[in-house]
């Protein structure tokens, strides 16, 4: 029963919300195909971020700055000149930048002993503020003028990117010793230290990975939207955390799977898309006194609490 709970919930969600987004029984295949298309493109960057967030949560930490890192990388990318040289100038720099931002988080947590929630809360604001500085005197966004780049924002390009990261990365992750060390760090850090696991180094690696994935997510976003601004992707970290927690990763650390996070991302993506569509539905608007789309944060918050509760119950453990 527990194993099918989440997939079942996803099917239910889609069944209820898809009609709001235009899926009809008359042209079912084409309307559902369009729905799945758009949903996959929207979910792609979130899947990337969720991969990193899962590992961060498993390690017993949290990364609140993912949305800000993504925005900052996107803003920096938008300052480059358009053209094929974008691939060799901007992309490597973006990768290094993402890794650097993540590294900064990791160093704060590991070397300076700042609790992850505080460290990443601080960088959430710091990186977001840097976006504004970076964008000063910005010229035109280059993204649509770079050959081949917007393929990464559509299917199948985006899915291939995400698929490679998740499948190759996920497969490596599952079989690796690294994963077990992270699990142990999240489960009992003192014991991990006694087990000769290089805790500090692992933590730095985990947060740096989160930064690299933020860079990849920024690529997905900018390839699709063609622009980046200081206010881009606000509130995205909430979506990612809700998704990962819903998927079975414990916020206390020591537990979590990538596949669970994928399911969680889909659950949240369907919900967010359904809320967006519901806001334009006359049937709903005529019956509710407030703007339907504003329910988004309320529901995401409720989902987060529900997800944590569900996971505590499902594990069968009683917290000590």
């Amino acid at each position: 029963m527990r194993r099918i709970a989440l997939p079942l919930l996803l099917v239910l969600e889609v069944a209820v919300l898809a009609p709001l987004s235009g899926v009809r029984s008359t042209h079912f295949l084409s309307t559902f195909g369009a729905y799945a298309n758009d949903l996959s493109i929207q979910a792609a960057p979130i899947l990337l971020l969720a991969f990193g967030m899962t590992i961060v949560l498993i390690s017993g930490g949290i990364d609140l700055s993912v949305a800000s890192m993504t925005a900052l990388v996107a803003c920096v990318l938008s300052k480059f000149e358009p053209g094929p040289q974008f691939w060799v100038t901007a992309i490597p720099l973006g990768l290094v930048l993402g890794a650097g931002l993540g590294l900064a988080n990791g160093l704060l947590v590991a070397a300076c002993d700042v609790p992850p929630i505080i460290a990443t809360l601080g960088t959430l604001f710091l990186y977001r503020g840097l976006c504004e500085a970076v964008l000063k005197g910005a010229k035109y966004n280059p993204f649509f003028d770079v050959p081949g780049y917007s393929r990464l924002g559509e299917l199948p390009g985006a899915l291939i990117l995400v698929g490679v990261v998740l499948i190759v990365g996920g497969a490596w992750f599952r079989g690796s010793r690294w994963r077990r060390e992270i699990l142990m760090i999240g489960g009992n850090r003192v014991a991990a230290r006694y087990a000769a696991i290089p805790v500090g180094r692992r933590l730095v690696e985990v947060y740096t990975l989160s930064g690299v994935l933020a860079f990849l997510a920024a690529v997905c976003f900018t390839a699709h939207d063609g622009s980046a601004s200081q206010a881009s992707y606000m509130g995205l970290e909430l979506q990612v955390i809700v998704a990962v927690v819903l998927g079975g990763t414990a916020v206390t650390g020591g537990r979590g799977t990538i596949i669970g996070s994928v399911l969680g991302v889909l659950l949240v993506a369907v919900l967010v898309e359904g809320l967006q569509a519901g806001g334009s539905s006359f049937w709903i608007q005529d019956r509710l006194p407030f703007k339907f789309g504003n329910l988004r944060f309320v529901l995401l918050g409720a989902l987060l609490v529900f997800g944590v509760w569900l996971n505590t119950r499902r594990s069968g453990e009683r917290p000590v």
Binding site: R3, A34, E273, S281, S315
Partner: protein, 370 residues
């Protein structure tokens, strides 16, 4: 007890240490199956890319109360676009069509795209966009048109996107020139001037800016542009940035502020730094926030048009597009006043060929409430 959990059942951990209730996703088959199902669905979606839904192609014969017009402003919560919404609602009520007027709360192109994608899927009849970034909507315009949805731009254009029609509130060249002529007159045709603008991407603002700059090069060679300030549709930001601008350029003699929030912000900055009357200011903005500045002499004049009329005209033209009627110069359509087409682009309708000029003497006549 520690929470070391064995997610991999093949780990060599003594059974007494294993938890009695392992968590649900040890890569279990239901999870894998659903992932597989999703991949298949998405692949199905890929191949169905350009199938239009039949309902939209029958636009010409549809009864009015089933026609849905979706209208997307640059952002929803500034006075200018709220005024447009008023006009749009009125026209929709008069014509008997259904109107969705919605948009992001920040001038963000990526947020705008989310609305457009949803409306395409929902199969609305027409989408009217005021794009924050003209290049960002091209792909969506094509997608919408493939499904039989009419696409209009209003307030700001996306010239290369293939949109069916543009509803422009003014003749761009006339407005740019009017702004420059006004500021040049106030500056006695010489001195340093600066541009205050919401964004360097929005097509409408930058087209006016380019015409103004071209006018300066052509007629006022003694005017020198020294700086450009980007305010992102925010009054406070405009004020702070202009205060800095005035400090950096002590010899500045004039500014043109190209959008409704930049003008009052710049005016306030002039007031606070005591430079009102010494630095000329002109631009286009709504009456209410600038009325006091006009009366106090911080501002001599500014331009606009009636945004309610813009919203109104956009809806009428959208309905006409859905019903297969094309706009003709000098004729009215769906109850609009007689139309003017742009001399430079036959797919652009111009609402007011001459912009409306507000001064101390006539401002009281325009108590529009915004």
């Amino acid at each position: 007890m520690g929470m070391i959990t064995a997610l991999d059942p093949t780990d060599s951990v003594p059974s007494s240490h294993k938890l009695k209730h392992p968590p649900a996703y040890a890569g279990g088959s239901p999870a894998l199956l659903s992932a597989l199902a999703l991949v298949l669905i998405v692949l199905a979606g890929c191949s169905q890319d350009s199938v239009g839904t039949a309902s939209n192609k029958a636009g010409a014969g549809k009864p009015r109360d089933q026609i849905v017009i979706a209208m997307l402003p640059k952002l929803t919560n500034i006075a200018y676009f709220r005024a447009c919404q008023e006009g749009a609602k009125k026209a929709a009520a008069e014509l008997g069509v259904r109107l969705i007027y919605d948009g992001p709360t920040d001038p963000s192109a990526s947020d705008q795209n989310k609305f457009i994608e949803t409306w395409i899927r929902q199969g609305v009849d027409a989408i009217c966009i005021a794009p924050n970034e003209p290049k960002a909507i091209k792909r969506l315009v094509q997608q919408a048109q493939e499904r039989g949805i009419k696409v209009l731009t209003w307030d700001s254009d996306a010239p290369d996107s293939g949109r069916d029609l543009m509803v422009n509130q003014v003749d761009d060249k006339r407005l740019g020139e009017a702004l420059m002529d006004e500021i040049a007159r106030q500056m006695h045709e010489e001195g340093e001037w600066a541009v205050v603008i919401a964004s360097l991407n929005a097509d409408n603002l930058n087209t006016w800016r380019k015409y103004a700059e071209a006018r300066a090069t052509e007629k006022y060679p003694k005017l020198v542009k020294v700086d450009t300030v980007v305010t992102e549709e925010d009054v406070d930001k405009s004020r702070k940035l202009v205060e800095t601008l005035l400090n950096v350029h002590p010899n500045l003699k004039g500014m043109i502020a190209f959008d409704s929030n930049s003008v009052p912000g710049a005016a306030e900055a002039l007031k606070r730094t005591g430079k009102a009357g010494k630095v000329a200011l002109c631009g286009n903005s709504t009456p209410a926030p600038n009325k006091d500045y006009l009366k106090e002499g911080v501002l001599e004049s500014f331009f606009l048009w009636d945004p309610r009329q813009l919203g109104d005209l956009t809806v009428r033209l959208a309905v006409a597009a859905v019903e297969g009627k094309s706009p003709k110069a000098g004729e009215s359509i769906n109850g609009s006043p007689p139309l003017t087409l742009s001399p430079r682009d036959p797919t652009t309708v111009i609402m007011s060929p001459e912009p409306l000029k507000f001064t101390k003497t006539n401002i009281d006549r325009y108590d529009w409430g915004f």
